[in-house]
Subunit: 157 residues, 2 copies
DNA sequence: TTTTCTGCAAACTGTTTGCAAAGGC
DNA sequence: GCCTTTGCAAACAGTTTGCAGAAAA
């Protein structure tokens, strides 16, 4: 026997999550597993409501409170990142050391699109050294209009 | 008597706000004036609750709904900026073309401190050009520990 | 068997909205 | 006098919490 059934489906992130949760003394529950599965497949930040709907849609519905609770645990273990792009609604996404990125948010349709930029990271790294703070993390959000919305605006019905 | 008491007290921002509101067809109400006065004196982002308390403290209490409504108008006229530094609580601050800045947020005490950095602005400007978006604005939040909290952590009671 | 996890429902908190009275023009 | 602004209270939405039953170790 082995732990295959739950651990072999995973990417590196999935496996690391499983390990870190176990090390931290957490047990394996249905809600936690369903959430890990979903997060493992997501490309970019989701709101709790979106997560709830997607899980229900795939027949793996779990309680909303569990979603908040598990996401909170995962955030503390640095397995997911909570981001806020405006309107006070939190979004969560997988946190992988090699997939650091930021977000473009469309002011019109609310679309959230990830991007990376080395120059930006360098600038932040440089200024962090000079700040009176001990900087441990950062978020950058660019606001604007996505291609689709600009096209729609330029082509009235 | 004259209009002195409300218009001459102002900085450039205060006057511009007054003008822009008038141009947009808004009238002068007590709540709006009290809020403009307060915003004009603030250095950095405040939450609605903080604003409410400060106004009450100075004997110029106004309804919370009015604070939200006026801040919303001011935001649309680009006179104030709404920022979110985490925990889903919005903060508002005066928006002056020559005072663009970002924020350092202490993970422990929640302190919000403004900073500016030309290298950062340049990096953002450069990458904005290459994004599929038409970028119209940006927010940068650095998280970490402020000097006070680090000192407190290093000096246990 | 013991401890953790989960779902439900209720409580909370920040924000928005409807409406009648007060106030600007 | 007409129309805007204001304050109050109720409505809302996202999030958190308490608790009893289900499930993991």
């Amino acid at each position: 026997m082995d732990g295959m059934s739950t651990t072999d489906s995973g990417t590196a992130w999935r496996r690391r999550a499983e390990d870190r949760l176990t090390d931290a003394g957490y047990r394996r529950g249905g809600a936690r597993t369903a959430l890990l599965d979903l997060l493992d497949e997501q490309r970019c930040a989701r709101t709790v409501l979106e997560i709830e709907d997607e899980l229900r849609g795939s027949g793996r519905a779990i309680g909303r409170a569990s979603i908040y609770r598990v996401l909170d645990e995962l955030e503390q273990l640095h397995l997911v990142q909570r981001i806020e792009v405006g309107q006070g609604i939190a979004r969560y996404e997988r946190l992988a050391p090699d997939h650091h990125h930021h977000h473009l948010v469309c002011r019109e349709c609310g679309a959230v699109v990830p991007f990376t930029d080395d120059g930006l990271e360098e600038a932040i790294h440089r200024l962090s050294a000079g700040a009176g703070f001990e900087v441990t993390g950062h978020d950058v959000v660019l606001h604007g209009s996505c291609a689709a919305c600009r096209a729609a605006a330029a082509t009235p019905a």
